[in-house]
């Protein structure tokens, strides 16, 4: 019998083969005769991995250890001074983490390190229940709790939402375990990029020879997409969501009043991704800016200026951010910061990405 399905399949097959047989969707833009450019691209990828990503994760790991030491000191000697020192250690550890949000891909994603470190909001109802329970609050116990009960924001809540006299043994035990878990996760994140059977850093540097990064170009696009995601997130998520809804509860890092610093470090991560440098560690590499400058030096510099302008615009928002969103006098600065991030996003995607591709 004359089958409907077979005819349809036949027609569609003919259509498909004929229309696509010659293929025109050229995504492989490497061209020919681009030996020097290929070397530069490989250098940019290598420096991104070795000079920016891995050192930033290493710094995170070190600062997580320093934070753990600080909260242990606080537990053993709960003074206001030690609380302040622990809070400072939390601020310090937060810097490389926020910078690393310019590359939220790889193990941070598929191994669950991002939720383990940075789940928001804190599950305060369950946290109260845990503190009131009879459980021994060891690192093992906390490690097995839900991510909304650990990570940076739970540590932040315990360190910043209470006065020193409100914190008791249970809170200190919990805090030490939470921070120990942060330390473990941060160390794993670093190790995932440098060690194990297949270090993710090697996979990225080996772009073109694996299925994660099928071409060198895909690794470069990945760097740009990582930058774009956080530029967009800062402008249209982290700032816009609480500001548009006038909702203080939507403000990230609200207990520590660290939101503005978080946003700044997010964009510093974008800058580092672009330049191939990690200024906090005095590392200088070859970045995308040099690749872009091959075709258009003015544009390459303009984007760098715009990223710096976005950092400056965020720093111009009156402190603290959670109050600024409700203050009509701060509206201009908030919107200018959003606009500056969007401008860098547009230049990156509409002008720089095409010339690099």
């Amino acid at each position: 019998m004359f089958s409907t399905k077979r005819i349809l399949v036949f027609i569609f097959s003919v259509l498909f083969v004929v229309s696509c047989g010659g293929g025109g969707d050229d995504s492989d833009g490497s061209g020919d005769g681009g030996g020097t450019n290929d070397e530069l691209i490989q250098t940019v990828i290598n420096d991104y991995v070795d000079q920016v990503v891995i050192p930033t994760y290493e710094l995170l790991s070190e600062r997580a250890t320093a934070l753990r030491v600080a909260v242990e000191v606080l537990r053993d000697d709960p003074t206001q001074e030690n609380l302040e020192a622990a809070r400072d250690a939390w601020f310090d550890a937060r810097v490389p983490w926020e910078q690393s949000e310019s590359w939220l891909f790889g193990p941070v994603d598929f191994k669950g390190h991002d939720p383990a470190l940075d789940t928001w909001p804190v599950n305060r109802t369950d946290l109260d229940a845990v503190l009131e329970s009879g459980n021994d609050l060891t690192e093992d116990f906390v490690a097995n709790l839900d991510p909304s009960l650990k990570g940076f924001h739970t540590a932040e809540y315990l360190l910043f939402a209470f006065d020193i006299e409100e914190l008791g043994d249970r809170e200190f035990d919990y805090l030490v375990s939470v921070v120990s878990d942060i330390e473990t996760t941060a160390a794993e994140l670093y190790t995932d990029w440098v060690g194990g059977e297949e270090p993710f850093g090697d996979i990225m540097k080996g772009a073109g020879s694996n299925s994660v990064f099928p071409s060198e170009e895909s690794a470069v696009e990945q760097i740009i997409e990582g930058m774009s995601i956080i530029l967009d997130e800062v402008a249209n998520g982290k700032i816009a969501e609480p500001y548009d809804n006038q909702d203080v509860e939507a403000v990230e890092s609200q207990f520590s009043f660290n939101s503005r610093q978080d946003f700044t470090d997010d964009i510093r991560g974008v800058l580092n991704s672009y330049t191939g440098d990690q200024p906090d560690l005095g590392l200088v590499g070859t970045g995308l800016n040099e690749l872009a400058a091959e075709s258009d030096p003015e544009l390459a510099q303009r984007l760098e200026d715009e990223i710096n302008a976005a950092i400056a615009a965020i720093l111009a928002i009156p402190q603290p951010f959670r109050d600024a969103i409700l203050d009509p006098d701060a509206a201009d600065e908030i919107e200018a910061a959003q606009e500056a991030c969007r401008q860098a996003f547009d230049t990156l995607n509409e002008e720089v990405l095409p010339i690099i591709q």
Partner: protein
Amino acid sequence: MFNKGEKRSEDNYVRYVLILTAFLAMSFVFTACDGGGSGEEAEPIRAGGDTSVDNRTSFAFEAPASNLSEESLDKHLEGDITFGDVFVTPPAPRNPGLGPLFNNVSCEACHIKNGRGLPEFGNTGLRSLSLVRISDPNGTPTVPGGNPPVEGLGNQIQDHATFGFEPEADVTLEWEEIIGNYPDGTSYNLRRPILSVTLANGEPLVSEYLTSVRLPPPVIGLGLLEAIPDETLIAIADPDDEDGDGISGRPNMVWNIVTLETEIGRFGRKASMPNLRQQAATAYFEDMGVSSPDIQGEDAEPDIDEETLDITTFYTQTLAVPLRLNTDDPDVADGENIFFDLGCNLCHLSVVETGDDYELPEMRNQVIQPFTDLLLHDMGEGLADNRPDFEATGREWRTAPLWGIGLTATVLGLQNYLHDGRARTLEEAILWHGGEAEDVKDGFMNLSKEERDKLLKFLSSL
């Protein structure tokens, strides 16, 4: 599926579709070949039609459809937030409603970067990234044609709970390695899942109960799939295999919880969901314990309101499909021909057109390449979960869309395919095909190594 009275109009419709399709095909052929031969490139079909994006990075599945109106884009971006919202134990100032029983805490937590999940349970960082459906073959369905729930457990095992509550069960997945050989002597490895469910009381799940492990699928292009007219699916279907090609695709017929009618199912591994809104409401409720206006459970007030359910649904309807990669690579072109020669396209239908009356104008009249027919097919004993789902038998699965499948490792960093994530490579996924696809699979196995690699290269280009 149809009574005799409907048959005539169905035939008329089929004729109409055929004529329309032939016209379409010819116009495409002409368009495609116009100017061909002297360096001018043919216009390829874009994977997701006008929604397509040129993005092959790990963020490729997170791009909004590129043809959204400003208003739609604004709504999509709101949905981007609700899709990522982490729910917590009530009462809470933000996103209350989690649990007390759940599998995970946000949509995005399972659909990692809008791609697939992992065949992992109880990961402390990631919670569970797959889930187990269950049913009692001797029980009573709660909706017509539905799966009879297990008393006290329902139709899904929630293996996590908010603090102070006991998860329903502890789920572990182990793997049994299987070694096989191609006719040319090349060996391959497969792995078969072995599921263990230990209930809260320490007892194993009663063996009479039916279980099925489900890996979360990618969520790209779903609005386009929803926009394919029912009539097209019916026209493509061949439930009695009248053409004798051994392929007997048919739509699942499932319960719509809002219209309270039986409708064509198109989402989920067995096409047990009629639309994306029901899929979203069910996932909120079953996976996160979050009630909504459509599935309120015993809550006096739903945890999320109508607007949130609508926005999240909209988000899943408006994600882009990435354009293909390296379509000018001769190996990819050869692999594509092999795909057709083998007959993979009999189920993984390469080209479909969406309807003209879908609710979102951006998804209408799009010629797309989803590589699915959205129909149920017998996939053989090896893949069978032996757990029926509405009209789908224990051996039937809905054809999985293949668009974007070449980005799996890029998006996830890892690869796992099929309904329970057992296949670690696309090659393994092909080798698990059985039932109606047995002959096609045999065809694949009989290819030379070089030809097999070309086919895999083609799949990686999707």
